[in-house]
């Protein structure tokens, strides 16, 4: 057994920088909107940043048929995705400045028909893994042998029964081109996931449904990149689940594992202080 694949230091730094951008832009855009999801984005900032730092196989053309696809099954973190798509040039950066304003393409949940680079509209929890199974199956039928489908789920979302309909069919169909990332940030809307309705053992549940499972620290860029590099080829026959252990609200101390910051608004002074903490923690 070889050790984890070596990850280039520059790529690790890229992920750190992009994760900081995701957090900073989330704070800035929520200031425009007047309210929004901070902490759900902060838990998967490194995960989203890594996907757009060389992990996903994407091109200049957001419609490239053989591209990798990302489904934000936890669609309420779209605000963290938008800056990454703008950075790639998929849409003008000034769209961000009008976030949620009347007629804006950018809302709290992503819309594939309005936003170049969004692979599927989401927001209704529990659907994303099924969408991913469909895309992975279609990629196989199309002969897109290197295409992977990435689905980002929340941990409390795993209460949705449809997730398990999808999980069972993914292994039945032998979809090794499907990767589920569970942002296990330990919390749902009402409090701690395990208190509200337990989902553990997350890895054990996916294994029982025929998936290969790897558990990582979801805030460690090196671990994320190593897990991605260690994926078997897309032509493999077992879907893979990355259980990313994370902290809801990570990056702004009073939001971390807070029961009240799922949705909120930071007044300008508090936003500035939060940005300062993010900058300091890098």
């Amino acid at each position: 057994m070889s050790g984890p694949a070596a990850v280039p230091a520059e790529q690790v730094q890229e992920v750190r920088d992009r994760a900081a951008t995701v957090r900073r832009e989330t704070i800035r855009l929520i200031e425009i909107a007047g309210n929004g999801h901070y902490s759900s984005v902060f838990s998967c900032a490194e995960l989203m940043a890594a996907l757009y730092s060389g992990v996903m196989r994407i091109a200049e053309d957001p419609e490239w048929p053989e591209r990798d696809r990302l489904i934000l099954s936890k669609g309420h973190v779209a605000i963290g995705l938008y800056p990454l798509l703008a950075e790639r040039g998929y849409f003008p950066a000034d769209w961000l400045d009008g976030y949620t304003r009347l007629g804006s393409p950018l809302g709290d949940h992503p819309d594939m028909r309005r936003i170049p680079g969004v692979d599927f509209s989401s927001g209704s929890l529990g659907h994303g893994l099924s969408i991913g199974v469909g895309m992975a199956k279609a990629a196989r039928l199309r002969g897109y042998d290197e295409t992977r489908i990435w689905v980002m789920l929340g941990d409390q979302e795993l209460n949705e029964g449809q997730v398990w309909e999808a999980a069972g069919s993914a292994s039945h169909f032998g979809l090794g081109n499907l990767v589920a990332i569970v942002d296990a940030n330990q919390m749902g809307l009402d409090g701690m996931t395990e208190e509200t309705m337990s989902v553990e053992p997350i890895g054990g549940r996916f294994e029982a449904f025929g998936w290969e499972v790897v558990e990582i620290d979801g805030h460690d860029p090196e671990a994320i990149l190593a897990a991605a590099a260690a994926l078997p080829p897309a032509a493999a026959d077992k879907p893979r689940c990355i259980v990313a252990r994370t902290v809801k609200g990570k990056g702004v101390s009073y939001m971390e594992l807070s029961r009240t910051w799922h949705i909120g608004y930071l007044a300008p002074d508090d936003a500035a202080a939060a940005l300062a903490e993010i900058d300091q923690r890098g």
Binding site: S130, M135, A138, L141, G168
Partner: protein, 337 residues
């Protein structure tokens, strides 16, 4: 011990018994599997998905020809809808088949959110709609699906009443960019359109199958042949009815309905659906929108606050007045009013 080991083996069933294979032979109007198999010869993007129901809807006919483009998801209708959405987003054209209550009602939110909102070309074969499955009961009935589907933006809703109409509907909707809900019966429907000139069934146009100025009967699905039969009985007494098949429920051909109803002054709507939310509601909207609110209107369908009795389908149709005799009786009442 010896006695316990003795097993009496039943002889092979006689010709009067039937199993799923025999049922398939009775489902002569379930032609979607065959039609799609032919369409798929020309269109490599067509795939067919079902939820452990390939013998009930005869999508097995597609599987036999194109096994590589046939997917069975097991008993997971909500997953089937979302999965089809994912496939469509990659460029395929999935046709998904399941009992109407399970795909149309259970999968209703997935249809709205994953198919209609993004406007994806997934086609839903919702069969055994209405009370067509009879004594299997309310869990297996769908008398609310038109109400739901009719209020979903981007959705096309069609109710082909027979095999000929089913083929026409499948072919004429093949290139629509958004989702289509095909509301189908139980596959034993009397063929109405094979005796009519080719092209009589046109997507989006209410089909006027009989002209008459005393009364307008709007039917849909199972009630189309019943309405024609009723009109034939009424003409004996000198009553001339128009019979219109309102097969395309969304978009609804309001102008034709309002024109005929306005001319006759009386409108009878017969449908295998709750009288709320379906074709009758669409007709009422059409009358008001076209300044014909004065038309006398009656509805045949499931009463607003009832779930169906248990009974064989034909008996239920008779009980709820959805058969020819029921339509004729209601028509006479309306004419006398």
């Amino acid at each position: 011990m010896a006695e316990l080991e003795r097993v009496d083996v039943a002889p092979e069933p006689s010709g009067k018994s039937w199993d799923l294979g025999g049922m398939a032979q009775m489902s002569q109007s379930f032609v979607a599997g065959q039609v799609l198999a032919a369409m798929a010869d020309e269109d490599p993007d067509i795939v067919v998905i079902t939820a452990d129901m390939k013998f009930s809807n005869l999508t097995v006919d597609f599987e036999r020809v194109h096994p590589d483009r046939f997917v069975n998801v097991g008993i997971a209708e909500q997953h089937m809808v979302s999965m089809a959405a994912g496939m469509a987003s990659v460029g395929l054209k999935p046709y998904i088949g399941a009992f109407a209550p399970f795909v149309g009602l259970l999968g209703g939110e997935q249809i709205r959110t994953d198919l209609a909102y993004p406007g994806l070309p997934v086609r839903i074969l919702a069969h055994h709609a209405g009370i067509a499955i009879g004594f299997y009961g309310t869990s297996h009935h769908a008398t609310e699906d038109l109400g739901l589907m009719r209020s979903i933006a981007n959705m096309t809703v069609v109710c082909p009443c027979d095999a000929t109409a089913t083929e026409a509907a499948l072919r004429q909707t093949a290139d629509l960019p958004g989702p289509v809900y095909f509301r189908l019966g139980r596959g034993r429907d009397v063929d109405v359109y094979d005796a009519l000139p080719e092209g009589t069934w046109r997507l989006g146009e209410a089909a006027v199958l009989r002209e008459g100025t005393d009364l307008t009967i709007v039917a849909n699905g199972i009630t189309v042949s019943a309405a024609l039969e009723a009109a034939a009985a009424l003409v004996v007494d000198g009553v001339e009815c128009s019979v219109i098949d309102a097969h395309t429920v969304r978009p609804f051909d309001r102008a034709t309905i309002a024109e005929y109803a306005g001319r006759s002054g009386r409108l009878l709507v017969a449908e295998e659906h709750n009288v709320v939310g379906g074709v009758a509601s669409a007709c009422a909207e059409a009358l008001v929108e076209h300044g014909q609110a004065g038309v006398k209107m009656e509805r045949i369908g499931m009463p607003p606050d009832e779930y169906s009795l248990i009974g064989p389908p034909t008996h239920l149709y008779r009980h709820y007045g959805m058969d020819a005799a029921g339509i004729e009786t209601k028509a006479r009442e309306l004419l006398a009013a």
